[in-house]
């Protein structure tokens, strides 16, 4: 092991004669693990979408009864009417599943595992065994989370932010019984899984890049995963600590988050000395960087798709990298903007407000770079490109919404309203969702050796992006009208009477959005078996994964020596009958421009 610095991981594991179990179930291959993560995440997304359906049915048609749902879910829909406690459990689990088990799995762990080694020219992740463990711990955590629906009292119902005392006192809300405990345990497993995966990505980028793959030759996708993984490693410990402490409060009699003198439902509690605000600080110290953990890879993916479809190098590559670094750093010091009206000192509030607004600078620069990459290009509007434009559009409108919420004065009226719901669905909901669809269409041929169907893909885009935009754009304005979030119905208030029509429109669009995902499922499954066979480089792209076969062999690049000669955006050059040079084309054949 004295030559550890130069060993290439995965190189010694290329045994083609592995059995089915070792190859597809307990696989050490980063590509298989990546696909396992993606499939798990997509299945969880279906659960999350089903929960969203229940939410929107309730909010769109609050007076109706649902006999069919009463038969399917007798506990949640006694008499055909959704029970408020079931509604809260559904809202909580929708948020938790979508943020942690869909977006994190598909986008970060899934695409991250699949793409990072391929794009840096490694034979596998740095530590394949930890990678496999990461997936199976993650699968366990997802199962545990689903299982919490079936325990006494139902799933956790204190919101995905799990603010104590609601989440700490078992009698405060039905879901704070066993459901909340399982929620916390599942999160602990999730963090363990995510940490293993993140450690691997960081170590892979750091230490096993191919010869010639300098930092300034890494695609923006790799950069975004590198920074997102570091952010995750730095931020998640705060949630781990908070989760451990909350478990102690719930089961061991401590009072970390519980002050003296609580009287819950007529029962006097004996706790003393804690502070519910402490949980909020710890939670958001994770929570804010976590949204960047999700959104940076989405932006990175879009930045790699766009040049392949404009046939032009990305605009401002290095500037974009610096923006990612700056945003990552800033995201660690702005968590308090989630707590402007929490009772935190107003001076602290102003600090967080000013700090948050500085994020506008790097994020705008990044967005302008993406937009300028389209300018003057010869655009081919393939399905991945359509979704990448949607990433850019949602990133723009969601980012502008951030100016309201990061501004303490405006946030006083808007916090905890549907403005927040609309904002984060555009950002960590929409930017990531569109990047997921774009990325799946783009890398599907590499993963499975077959193309996805373009016509269904285009129909799916129209029926996904349009309703998505309408739903969450309108929700911003529901918030401006004052509609608070996590309401079971808007019928109890006079000032919310006028939101009736908007909620109806939002719910109708949501039904279209959710129903149209069947197009994607059909396309995915059909293309898996019947799609047109894919060439090695169907999009005429430049990064390393397109220089190997589709799908790549176990050791990614075969026995051939792998040397990187140029940056990843060598489009628009003269190279025989091609207008691009992939990263392995030596400088003798096509001049290196970066």
């Amino acid at each position: 092991m004295s030559h550890a610095a130069t060993t290439v991981p995965g190189h010694d594991q290329s045994h083609p004669e592995l059995g089915f179990i070792r190859r597809y179930v307990f696989s050490l291959d980063h590509k298989v693990i990546g696909i396992q993560y993606i499939v798990t995440g997509l299945l969880m997304a279906l659960v999350g979408a089903a929960l969203a359906t229940l939410i929107r049915l309730q909010l769109g048609w609050p007076e109706r009864t649902w006999p069919l749902l009463a038969q399917l879910l007798p506990k949640g829909y006694a008499g055909g009417v959704m029970a408020p406690e079931f509604y809260l459990a559904v809202v909580t689990m929708h948020g938790t599943i979508m943020v942690f088990f869909f977006m994190s799995y598909v986008l970060v762990s899934g695409f991250g595992n699949y793409l990072v080694p391929l794009q840096v020219g490694a034979r596998d992740m740095a530590f394949p065994l930890a990678n496999m463990l990461s997936f199976w711990i993650g699968a366990l955590s997802a199962l545990l989370m689903i299982a919490s629906f079936f325990v006494e009292g139902g799933a956790a119902a204190a919101g995905w932010t799990a603010y104590p005392p609601l989440s700490a006192v078992a009698t405060a809300v039905p879901g704070s019984g066993m459901g909340q405990t399982i929620w916390l345990l599942s999160m602990a497993f999730f963090i363990a899984s995510f940490t293993l995966s993140g450690l691997n990505i960081v170590a892979t980028v750091f230490s096993v890049r191919a010869p010639g793959m300098s930092m300034w030759r890494m695609p923006l996708t790799v950069w975004s995963y590198f920074i997102a993984s570091i952010l995750g490693l730095l931020a998640f410990p705060a949630l781990t600590a908070a989760a451990v402490m909350l478990l102690f409060d719930r089961h061991a009699g401590t009072s970390f988050f519980l002050p003296a003198g609580l009287v819950v439902g007529g029962r006097h509690l004996t706790n003393s000395g804690g502070s519910p605000l402490l949980w909020q600080h710890l939670f958001w110290f994770l929570g804010h960087p976590e949204v960047y953990v999700l959104i940076l890879p989405a932006l990175g993916i879009a930045c790699d798709i766009i040049p392949a479809f404009t046939r032009k190098p990305i605009f401002g590559y290095r500037l974009s990298v610096w923006c990612l670094v700056a945003v990552g750093a800033l995201s660690m010091v702005v968590w308090g903007h989630h707590m402007f009206v929490s009772g935190m000192s107003p001076f602290t509030g102003e600090y967080f407000s000013i700090a948050t607004m500085t994020i506008t600078l790097p994020m705008t620069v990044f967005g302008v770079n993406m937009l300028a990459s389209l300018r003057g290009g010869a655009i081919r509007m393939g399905v991945p490109m359509m979704f990448s434009c949607a990433v850019l559009a949602l990133f723009g409108s969601g980012g502008l919404g951030g100016l309201y919420l990061g501004n303490a004065t405006a946030d006083m009226q808007l916090t905890d309203t549907y403005f927040v719901v609309g904002h984060f669905h555009m950002m960590i909901g929409g930017v990531t969702l569109m990047a997921t669809f774009g990325g799946l269409h783009y890398w599907f041929p590499k993963m499975f050796g077959r193309m996805m169907n373009e016509t269904i893909g285009k129909a799916h885009f129209w029926l996904t992006f349009t309703p998505f935009f309408i739903i969450f754009f309108m929700q911003h304005f529901l918030g401006i009208q004052g509609a608070p979030r996590r309401y079971y119905a808007f019928t109890a208030y006079d000032f919310l009477r006028e939101t009736r029509i908007q909620n109806l429109v939002v719910s109708s669009c949501a039904m279209v959005l959710i129903a149209s995902q069947s197009l994607f499922v059909v396309n995915f499954v059909w293309s898996l078996f019947r799609g047109a066979p894919a060439a090695d480089n169907p999009w005429e792209a430049t990064t390393l994964e397109w220089t190997t076969s589709s799908p790549p062999p176990h050791d990614n690049f075969g026995q051939a020596e792998l040397t990187v000669h140029r940056w990843p955006y060598e489009y628009g050059v003269e190279s025989g009958d091609r207008d691009f040079a992939d990263q392995r084309v030596p400088p003798g054949r096509v001049p290196v421009t970066a």
Partner: protein, 200 residues
């Protein structure tokens, strides 16, 4: 877009700082684990700031005893460094002796920690409250020292395995070095806990 001059270490093909992915992984693990302790300590600091009756640790606990605990762990950590150096030289029998001594240091520390808990519990300290003041004091004491103790316990297990592997000639210098990194980290965290929880 000409690349600027930079050290060849970052050009790919080799690991920067000639570290190898194992060390990189270990460093980042330590950063993350350190931040976990950081979060617990920050929470403790927050609780202490809002508390009105925070007890004086030097009255509750015996500082000479704690100094002895610190010394034991420091010594153990120093012996680990000698063990790593011996393994790097290939002096395996020496390495084995140092590792054994390191392990014993860890066990001794755990014993002293357990004794301190026994004293505290006998004096009436519980997770839900304590005789000296703010209820959080006892809770954070058990939480933080317990979490650190778990790390020491884990370290002792790893050290035992490493010693056995040295004895059966299956260990590598790198492996021993990684164990050493972890053990030094556990010792370093204790210094922070000692300073922030017991001394301040």
């Amino acid at each position: 877009m000409m690349p600027v001059a930079r050290p060849a270490a970052w050009d790919g093909g080799v690991c920067p700082f000639a570290a190898g992915w194992q060390r990189v992984l270990m460093w980042w693990f330590i950063v993350g684990d350190g931040l976990l302790f950081g979060a617990f300590l920050a929470a403790y600091g927050y609780a202490r700031l809002i508390a009105t009756t925070w007890p004086d640790s030097s009255v509750v606990f015996s500082l000479p005893y704690l100094a002895a605990m610190t010394l034991v762990l420091n010594t153990s950590s120093a012996m680990m460094a000698s063990g790593v150096a011996a393994a790097r030289r290939g002096a395996w029998p020496t390495a084995r002796r140092w590792l054994l001594a390191t392990t014993l240091g860890g066990v001794l520390f755990l014993g002293m920690q357990a004794d301190e808990w026994r004293h505290a519990i006998a004096a009436g300290a519980r997770l839900s409250g304590n005789p000296w003041g703010d209820a959080s004091f006892g809770a954070y004491f058990f939480l933080i020292t317990g979490f650190h103790g778990t790390h020491v316990l884990l370290g002792v297990l790893i050290l035992t395995i490493a010693t056995a592997r040295v004895a059966t000639r299956r260990a590598t210098p790198l492996g021993i070095e990684l164990v050493g990194l972890y053990w030094h980290f556990v010792e370093l965290v204790w210094v922070f806990i000692f300073t922030l929880f017991y001394l301040l």
